[in-house]
């Protein structure tokens, strides 16, 4: 079992002290990525609910830069302290309240003198008050609290502020101020220099006329910036001189309270001036001051990172990032920073020039589809053999995501167009299909018309390049079925033939003709061309599938299924019918059964026998997705539980689960096995060829040709498991299996210069030696044999020591 596809952008990431690692909150774990390669190195596991904050303990001296400690806070109500180089849990503080945000200002304060006894460590938390939920349903649920981490307890009774919802807590980079936004106000506290448990810090509020979204503190001066929902950025200068003034360092002249000397400041807000910058057209999500305080970074829904020169207000841009920005994080290394985008990508930026060095690409999230394409959209296709999933992305591309390695492989741009994240969706990739061997892909894109003109449906065929293993465009077909939309594309299992069915009432068979010219000079001219057109009573064709051997083509004409001979394009038979239009057709493996799914008011899962041309059995189920095993006659369906049953059943086993995966044998209406899952609406299932190398459990079985079932939910989180194994039937996405890959990204010493030494020698020795030693003293014979056969001592040494240790344990037992 293997899970993955977590969101990388649920909360801001954090850089390690050397800037070489990036700690990213991924669901219940914190994944550590290398910034140079973008690959995952390790993960911190232990939290039982999504992690919301990760704070790296900053290095106070250059010597302690190798120190790798971090604090994490999670919705499970615990704060943990880790050494992430090992990785190892060092401390756990349980406060029993879901934590949405945590800051530890005292970590950021540079220690002045070391002879003093280190004071307690205090964290400021934004928690959700779950206890009083029943009594006061409308009350404020978010609270800002303080926690003594050294003593591992929450400071009782001290609630700094109550807000309607838990808010993100911002802290200034020297740890002097913390602040939150609350509707149209900013609340700012000054952290006392000698923080103690009960000390209530002073608070000011700054007001604005629009809802604020984000705030940031200047690293050295008393400047706070905030963004609002309309895209304005407000910069308050000199805030809090009155309230936060310490008596002995009172600055005279600052206390003059005259309205005309405080331009832009509302009411009695404690600030010298407030200026407004407006460039963003929509909500500002990102605000960040550069470490020297000269620049302010801002970003929002447009996907443009704007750099403001703080003194002059001049702007520089990093345009076309392609997705709304969520977080900006800078690193102790001044040349590196990262931006997190809404499409689950974290881009590592090279700083002064703002080049994108590297991207940590998570699985791209589904995007909303306008109008007619809403219901029938799956948006992904699975590559059976290589374990890839191809996902339609919002920026008109296809992302290939490796399910076994849990990382994005590459992206293919389907439509050459500049994506503006804030705009209305007018061009959309509606469909992707992969051939069974994964060598061909077809995509359908639709351009939506403006007031009835300019609409375009475009079918594209792609071929996998032989050397770079990337898809390249082979053929473009504009308006393959006049202006009608395409409902399905399916590939022939063995030949270069594909079928596309349309709502316009016809289906077309496409054939790829590989014309190799006689002369070697001529390029291979291959293209797809229409071979045949078919229609049945001018009914909209809603689904299409080839049988396992490719001898039968099944096309659903609304409620009936038409069977065709793809070679002669002759209608063979018509079977049916169902109550509502069929949306999916699939042959159950190599059996003679055809699975059809219809949705709507009377959903139905029907199994048709091809030999009898009649209905074999059926269920009244709302099926979200169907997957058929390739070589067996079994198939899996993802069914949505009816809403009534979710509401009625208050059993703990069904909480939050709205879907069920059923594995059937086509002959038998009794499911072979079932699993209940969460977030099934919009999800999918598929069978994949199991890889023994990537799944250790299969390794022990030694069964290479095992098929795995993958379930991907609506948030594009997925789980891979063996449907025939005797594993636990419990399959919540909350379950974690300790199978994260540890990839050593950096090589040292010899290996960095000359590459890895071949390991063949060692393994051969082990295999030949260990079974040949039946005696209880294997170390005696380990060096036997002629000297030129013997591997170098350095290599034999480990095996030798190992054999000694084995002996010991045997004795103990």
């Amino acid at each position: 079992m293997k899970t993955g596809g977590k969101s990388y952008v649920s909360s801001p990431p954090a850089f390690s002290n050397d800037g070489k690692r990036l700690l990213v909150c991924t669901g219940n774990t914190v994944s550590i990525f290398s910034t140079s390669t973008g690959l995952q190195i390790a993960s911190l596991e232990g939290h039982t609910a999504p992690v919301t904050s990760v704070i790296v303990v900053p290095a106070s001296s250059p010597a302690s830069k190798i120190l790798c400690c971090c604090w994490t806070a999670s919705l499970d109500g615990s704060i943990r302290h880790w050494d992430f180089s090992v990785p190892d849990l060092m401390k756990k503080v349980d406060i029993k309240m879901p934590i949405f945000s945590m800051v530890i200002p005292s970590l950021l304060v540079q220690p002045v003198e070391n002879d003093e006894k280190p004071s307690d460590l205090f964290a400021y938390l934004s928690v959700e008050d779950t206890i009083e939920q029943e009594n006061r349903p409308k009350a404020s649920r978010g609270q800002i609290r303080k926690c003594n981490l050294t003593a591992s307890r929450l400071i009782g009774g001290l609630i700094l502020k109550e807000t309607p919802t838990p808010e993100f807590v911002a802290v200034s980079s020297v740890g002097k101020f913390i602040g939150i936004r609350n509707k149209r106000k900013l609340h700012i506290w000054m952290v006392p220099e000698k923080d103690s448990g009960r000390s209530v810090s002073k608070k000011i509020a700054l007001h604005h006329t629009k809802n604020l979204t984000v705030l940031a503190f200047h690293p050295s001066k008393r400047i706070v910036a905030a963004g609002d929902v309309t895209g304005r950025i407000l910069v308050w200068r000199g805030f809090g001189y009155q309230t936060f003034s310490v008596s002995d360092e009172l600055v005279s002249g600052r206390l003059v309270d005259k309205e005309e000397e405080r331009p832009g400041v509302r009411g009695n807000d404690d600030a010298d001036s407030c200026s407004t910058w407006h460039w963003h057209s929509a909500e500002v999500n990102v605000l960040f001051f550069s470490s020297d305080g000269a620049y302010l970074y801002s970003g929002g829904k447009e996907g443009v990172l704007v750099v403001w020169q703080l003194d002059t207000g001049k702007k520089k841009f990093l345009p076309r990032i392609g997705s709304p920005l969520l977080y900006y994080t800078d690193s102790p290394d001044p040349t590196l920073s990262s931006i997190s985008c809404a499409d689950n990508q974290i881009h590592i930026l090279k700083m002064p020039s703002m080049e994108i060095l590297n991207s940590i690409s998570g699985i791209k999230l589904p995007h909303s589809l306008p109008g007619i394409y809403e219901g029938l959209y799956s948006g992904f296709a699975f590559d059976y053999s290589s374990g890839l999933v191809a996902l339609c992305t919002e920026n008109y591309g296809i992302q290939f995501y490796s399910l076994f390695n849990d990382r994005g492989i590459y992206e293919v741009q389907v439509c050459e167009r500049n994506h503006q994240p804030a705009d209305e969706i007018t061009v959309v990739v509606t469909f992707v299909a992969l051939s069974q061997d994964g060598s061909m892909m077809s995509t359908v894109e639709a351009k939506l018309p403006e007031e009835g003109i300019g609409g375009l449906v475009c079918l594209k065929f792609w071929a996998l390049g032989s050397e770079n293993k990337k898809f390249s465009l082979s053929t473009v077909i504009y308006e393959p079925h006049r202006d009608a939309g395409i409902s399905a594309v399916a590939f022939h299992p063995t030949r270069n033939v594909a079928v596309s069915s349309s709502y316009g009432g016809d289906f077309k068979l496409w054939v790829c003709n590989d014309e190799i010219q006689e002369k070697g000079l001529m390029l291979q001219n291959s293209g797809w061309a229409c071979l045949a057109v078919g229609a049945y009573k001018k009914k909209p064709m809603t689904a299409a599938a080839f049988s396992c051997d490719g001898s039968v083509l099944a096309v659903a004409a609304e409620t009936v299924i038409t069977l065709w001979d793809p070679n002669k394009n002759v209608l063979v038979a018509v079977i049916g019918e169902t109550l509502t239009p069929i949306v999916t057709l699939s042959f159950a493996g190599n059996s003679e059964y055809l699975v059809s799914v219809s949705r709507g008011s009377k959903p139905q899962l029907s199994i048709w026998s091809m030999s009898k041309l009649s209905l074999s059995w059926s269920y009244k189920l709302h099926i979200e997705a169907v997957a058929c095993a390739v070589n067996l006659s079994s198939f899996a369906v993802l069914a949505l539980l009816p809403e009534s049953s979710i509401c009625m059943e208050s059993e703990p086993s069904f909480q939050g689960r709205d879907g069920i995966i059923l594995v059937f044998n086509a002959m038998d209406p009794v499911p072979v096995s079932t699993w209940s899952v969460k977030k099934a609406k919009g999800g999918g299932v598929a069978f994949l060829q199991g890889y023994t190398s990537s799944l250790k459990q299969n390794n022990s079985d030694g069964n290479a040709q095992q098929e795995l079932l993958v379930y991907i939910n609506s948030d594009r989180e997925y789980i891979l498991f063996d449907p025939y194994g005797n594993e636990a039937n419990e399959l919540g996405m909350s379950q974690q299996d300790g199978l994260v890959e540890f990839e050593e990204t950096e090589k040292f010493g010899y290996a960095s210069i000359y590459g890895e030494l071949p390991k063949l020698n060692l393994t051969r020795n082990q295999t030949s030696l260990v079974p040949s030693v039946p005696s209880e003293r294997p170390w005696e014979s380990i060096f036997s044999g002629s000297s030129h056969n013997l591997p170098p001592l350095t290599k034999v040494c480990s095996a030798f020591l190992e054999s000694l240790m084995e002996k010991r344990t045997a004795v103990v037992e």
């Binding site: 076309r320 167009r417 300019g454």
Partner: protein, 523 residues
């Protein structure tokens, strides 16, 4: 992972369908690279064309009662011999290019000095019109001729006497050729459908070999290997293997009318002499010249001329192809020669005096650009300047979201594909109608002119017809107010009416054809 999103993507017009077969093979490119010149006003049809074997390969064309030599450089007649009493049927250069033999329909064969045009010998023995005369390839002393008396004669030129009279043909002898490898073998073709191979050493005047073409033979040539013979007769050109006992290798039937003349041409790269391959060039009364690759048995090029063609010749240096038509026009195809080399050589000779280079001083503009055009040496590490993405004007405007300006700028350009691409992009941005609304009268006129031109073009009509309707709806007030715009609308109306008329007639045709197809499909 590469980050493709950071560069701006210009709008691209839709792709056009590619023809399944490439439009131009390298070979057809070669053949069409001959630049055609016309030499008109020769009287009556051109009966034969013959190239001199010596450089610069002047060629002789025979027509009416005269023979004209053309210079290959200027394509102008250098000399004309018109001392014939009847129509000249054929001419042949001797292998050294100094003498030329010509035959006429009175039965006389004359041998001239090419330079002085003086007739040196008169060979009189044929009683009927002579149709061909031919010098052997390496023999300076003999000639072969054939004519309507069905006799082939082998002449000793010096004594003006026929050495051999080769009998065997039963009809007019129309053509003949000497073997390129031996001066004793010749082949003749006759209207009795046969092609006979003669050996002049055999005195019994029997043909060595005989093949039947099946149609009256118009022309026969040896192919350069000496083992193959190509014959033309009727609509076909046939290739025969003489060494293999007169076996027919291939029959090329792509002319629609009688093939009148064939010759050997060479195709291939211009530079490498060894890269050239031999082809059979054939011309016919259907006005086509076909290039036949007898190695692959394929027609590799075909070219249409506006008149029935009578004769063809191909220069030995591959620089020229001359075709004579029945109405007295010579179509000369000439390849560009590298005369520039010669000229530059001349210039360097003349510029010897100014060899020393001028010293660069900061007073020249070039001083500041010195060394910038330097090519990198072999071992140099080249640091490339990042390629600048060139954006068209409309792309720049689209990048700045100045939609109306982008539309106007692309309408100013002359490329309809780009205009449609920009319109599609504006549709995707939901800004097209806003743009149309904001156009001023002048720009609206521009748009209307574009619509008038391209609304009925099938490739663009799906978008433009809808747009035209919308534009008329939205801007009706402005159009009423301006005479110029009214004119545009009138034009638009006319082109739409035209299109409707075409559609009607197409539908009529469809109405006629579809029952036929239905019937055909039933069988």
């Amino acid at each position: 992972m590469a980050e493709p999103s950071s560069s701006f993507k210009p709008v691209k017009p839709k792709l056009k369908p590619k023809p399944r077969t490439p439009k131009q093979t390298p070979e057809s490119k070669y053949w069409s690279s001959f630049k055609t010149h016309q030499i008109p006003n020769l009287i009556s049809s051109v009966t034969s064309i013959n190239f001199s074997p010596t450089t610069p390969h002047p060629f002789a064309a025979t027509y009416s009662t005269s023979l004209t030599l053309f210079s290959p450089q200027t394509l102008s007649p250098s000399s004309t011999i018109s001392s014939f009493s009847d129509v000249v049927s054929s001419a042949s250069f001797r292998c050294d290019g100094l003498l030329i033999a010509a035959s006429d329909l009175s039965g006389l064969i004359k041998v001239f000095d090419v330079k002085t045009r003086t007739p040196l010998r008169k060979l009189r023995s044929h009683t009927r019109p002579v149709r061909f005369v031919k010098y052997p390839v390496h023999d300076k002393l003999h000639l072969v001729s054939g004519g309507d008396d069905a006799l082939v004669k082998y002449w000793d030129v010096a004594t003006e006497t026929p050495i051999l009279e080769l009998q065997g043909h039963k009809d007019y002898v129309r053509s003949g050729d000497f073997s390129p490898v031996s001066h004793e073998l010749c082949v003749t073709g006759s209207y009795d459908h046969t092609v006979k191979l003669w050996d002049v050493r055999v005195a019994d005047s029997k043909s060595v070999m005989e093949v039947n073409h099946g149609k009256p033979v118009e022309d026969v040539i040896f192919l350069p290997s000496g083992g193959l013979v190509a014959t033309a007769g009727g609509n076909t050109v046939k290739i025969w293997d003489l060494i293999g006992g007169g076996r027919m290798v291939f029959s090329m039937e792509s002319h629609t009318k009688t093939v009148t003349s064939i010759c050997v041409g060479r195709a291939g790269k211009v530079s490498g002499e060894e890269g050239r391959e031999n082809r059979v060039l054939s011309v016919g009364l259907d006005g086509y010249m076909k290039v036949f690759d007898y190695g692959r048995m394929k027609i590799t090029h075909s070219m249409r001329f506006p008149a029935p063609l009578m004769s063809i010749g191909f220069s030995p240096d591959c620089g020229m192809r001359v075709i004579g038509s029945s109405n007295g026009v010579l179509y000369v195809g000439k390849k560009k020669t590298k005369e520039e080399n010669v000229e530059s050589g001349v210039r360097s000779f003349w510029s010897l005096g100014q060899e020393e280079r001028r010293v660069m001083r900061p007073s020249y503009f070039r001083y500041f650009q010195r060394g910038q055009g330097e090519k990198p040496k072999e071992g140099d590490y080249v640091v490339m300047r990042p390629k600048k993405l060139k954006l068209a004007e409309h792309d720049k405007l689209l990048k700045k979201f100045r939609h109306k300006e982008a539309l106007v700028s692309v309408l100013d350009g002359k490329n309809p594909e780009n205009v449609v691409a920009v319109m599609e992009e504006l549709v995707a941005r939901r800004k097209l109608f806003k743009c149309v609304e904001n156009l001023n009268n002048e720009e609206l006129g521009l748009l209307l002119m574009f619509l008038h031109k391209y609304t009925t073009v099938p490739r663009y009509s799906s978008l433009l017809m809808g747009l035209t309707k919308k534009v008329l709806e939205m801007r009706i007030e402005d159009i009423r107010g301006s005479e110029a715009l009214k004119d545009q609308i009138r034009n638009l109306k006319r082109s739409v009416e035209e299109e409707i008329r075409i559609q009607h007639s197409l539908q009529e045709i469809q109405g006629i054809i579809s029952p036929l197809l239905r019937i055909a499909g039933r069988r």
